[in-house]
Amino acid sequence: MDKLDQLENRSLYIIREAYFRYRSISILWSMGKDSTAVLWLCRKAFFGQVPFPVLHIDTSFKFQRIYEFRDYFAKEWELDLRIARNKEALARGMSCQTGKRLECCNQLKTEALKQAIAEYRFDALLVGIRRDEHGIRAKERHFSPRDQDFHWDYMNQPAEPWDAFKTRSEERTHVRVHPLLDWTELDVWQYVRREEIPVIDLYFARFGKRYRSIGCEPCCSPVESTAENVDEIIEELLTSKVAERAGRAQDKEDPNAMQNLRAFGYL
């Protein structure tokens, strides 16, 4: 087995463990390359079906291309798509221009997710985070509990020897399941190439810039790049030293911003 085979096989094992051990699971799909790769792995794990709901946390500030991509593949792959918005905060006019950036992330992402979990009573969520994205995410477990208030108790994380995971969520809590935790950004792109996984064209360079990480339009800025297709992105990553989330505004507010966001339930 080569590296991608090894990563894929272990991710399939993790996804199937989540499905067989938890009562009500879902996958968080942001339409970015990572969560689309997780969705692809779910389809492979269950022979082309995704036998659980697919959840999109919609801030309403995503790029138009993201919505088009979502609607096209939700139909193509016959997904049970659920769209969650914090309607109350949006009605108040919450945005990163009106509120503080971290407050906006908390309200439109974390709060919206809390509302969705309360509504659908999910006890496990498949999430496409990776250790190499951020030092805080490097500390994660494959099955990582969150309490009712979504707090991540990073000072007391579960033991996870070999492939023995936490297999039960206490009432009104859930686990975040991380099938891509051991993958790197380069692994994901090499897998996208090998599997011909569709990706949004925002990742490809136009006029000397491309998005390396995509989310809300006002808070993402493109990085300098000439990579116009998957091959060129892989080539670029083999030589680049720029951190992946360099274009993400919320990471820059203060050195511990990511930890603060995550402690309160952010991904």
Binding site: R10, Y13, R16, R141, Q157, P161, L238
Partner: protein, 412 residues
């Protein structure tokens, strides 16, 4: 196509007593090989106090609590490329209270570096971590004598400390690799050999890593396939799971354990098509000639070399919970996808991992960080193998209400 990234990475765990310099060593290794992303390096420079040396541990320690108290709390994994190979470097905490995290980090490692302070020598957590390496069966272990600058690059001091670590490892049945004297802070013998220690003719750390053998594949062992669950595809019942050892073929006669019924694997399926065979580590679906009930936890075996099965088990257990294990307690025992209820019949030969000389022949409890030889009486039979022969069926975990609280290996 053999571009970097095609071979699986070597998983390397760094262990040792608190403040002996594990995180600093990793930071230095990444820094000197130009492997730190630019944005992260800037933040390390900002965070390091003015006029002081760069705080290399900031490259791996990311929790605010870790930076404030200058100690690693949870395990971190960093990806590193050097000498034509990929590595996953696992940094682990040195504090006794976080040994659960150290155990988690070390459990999947192919090799280990034991970092020891040249001035302080072997300390409590050095011992505890060596015991974990012994229990986990990690065979490739390199002692690293760090902070050589603090002892004037003394050869005598190096030999004394290296000798003490080597002796400890040998007691645990580990034949260590030659020790490396280094200074992570100053960069001596990390990436390049240092002029400060002309008496040392061995490799620098980076060169020593090249000696780690590629991860072994269990594909040559007797076939074991653990079922995760049943799933219907277009009206056809499939059993999903992973080949844990050996190679499964289709069609193949198999024995289903622990019930000992004979069956035939008619097809191996992955999304997109059928397969003639699948090797250890592959997650697949199979179709059986005779459908089965209660599929989860069934282990398919090569009928010519079946594993042992029993309702009684003795395991070498490492306890990972603040709430001690009690004699007579009922909990869940898991081996691959098998899970049954079990009762603790005996806690023998127990000791704290940092004080292996104080052995209690019998005990009523096993506390956090302690190791014991535990007899379990199960509600129904489990399939297992000695750890020396099978890394999957030879390991077990204990759980309370779905939470992993102990883990161990099965002796011969």
């Amino acid at each position: 196509m053999t571009q970097p990234g095609s071979a699986p990475p070597v998983r390397l765990v760094i262990v040792g007593h608190v403040d002996h310099g594990k995180s600093t060593l990793i930071g230095r290794l990444l820094y000197d090989t130009d492997s730190v992303p630019e944005g992260i390096l800037d933040r390390v420079r900002e965070a390091s106090r003015e006029g002081e040396d760069l705080q290399f541990e900031f490259i791996t320690d990311h929790l605010a609590e870790e930076r404030r108290d200058a100690k690693t709390i949870d395990t971190t994994q960093v990806f590193f490329h050097g000498g034509g190979r990929h590595y996953v470097i696992i940094d682990t905490p040195g504090h006794a209270e976080f040994i659960k995290n150290m155990f988690t980090g070390a459990s999947r490692a192919d090799a280990a570096l034991v970092v020891v302070d040249a001035a302080e020598g072997v300390r409590k957590q050095t011992l505890a971590h060596c015991n974990v390496l012994g229990l986990l069966g990690i065979r490739y272990v390199v002692p690293m004598v760090n902070k050589m600058d603090k002892v004037g690059y003394s050869r005598e001091q190096f030999e004394e400390v290296a000798g003490a670590v080597e002796a400890r490892l040998k007691e645990l049945g580990i034949e260590p690799q030659p020790a490396v004297p280094l200074s992570a802070l100053r960069g001596d013998n990390v990436v390049e050999r240092s002029a400060q220690m002309p008496w040392y003719s061995g490799p620098a750390l980076l060169e020593a890593l090249a000696g780690i053998p590629d991860p072994a594949s269990p594909a040559e062992q007797p076939m074991r396939f653990a079922v995760q669950g049943a799933f219907d595809v277009d009206g056809r019942r499939m059993y999903l799971g992973r080949v844990e050892a050996g190679t499964l073929r289709a069609p193949q006669a198999v024995r289903l354990m622990p019930g000992e019924t004979e069956n035939t694997v008619e097809a191996i399926e992955v999304f997109g098509g059928g397969r003639a065979s699948a090797r250890a580590g592959e997650s697949i679906g199979i179709a059986l000639a005779q459908p089965i009930e209660h599929a989860r936890g069934v282990v398919l075996c090569d009928p010519a070399v079946p594993p042992a099965h029993s309702t009684a088990l003795t395991g070498r257990l490492f306890w990972l919970s603040d709430e001690p294990l009690r004699l007579g307690e009922s909990l869940e025992v898991r081996i691959v996808t098998q899970e049954v209820g079990a009762q603790v019949e005996r806690i023998g030969q127990s000791f704290h991992s940092s004080a292996p000389e104080r052995v209690r022949p019998e005990a009523e409890r096993l506390a956090y960080g302690e190791i014991g030889l535990v007899d379990l009486a199960m509600d129904s039979p489990l399939v297992y193998e000695p750890f020396s022969r099978d890394n999957a069926l030879g390991t077990f975990v204990l759980a309370r209400e779905g939470n992993v609280v102990g883990a161990g290996t099965l002796p011969e």
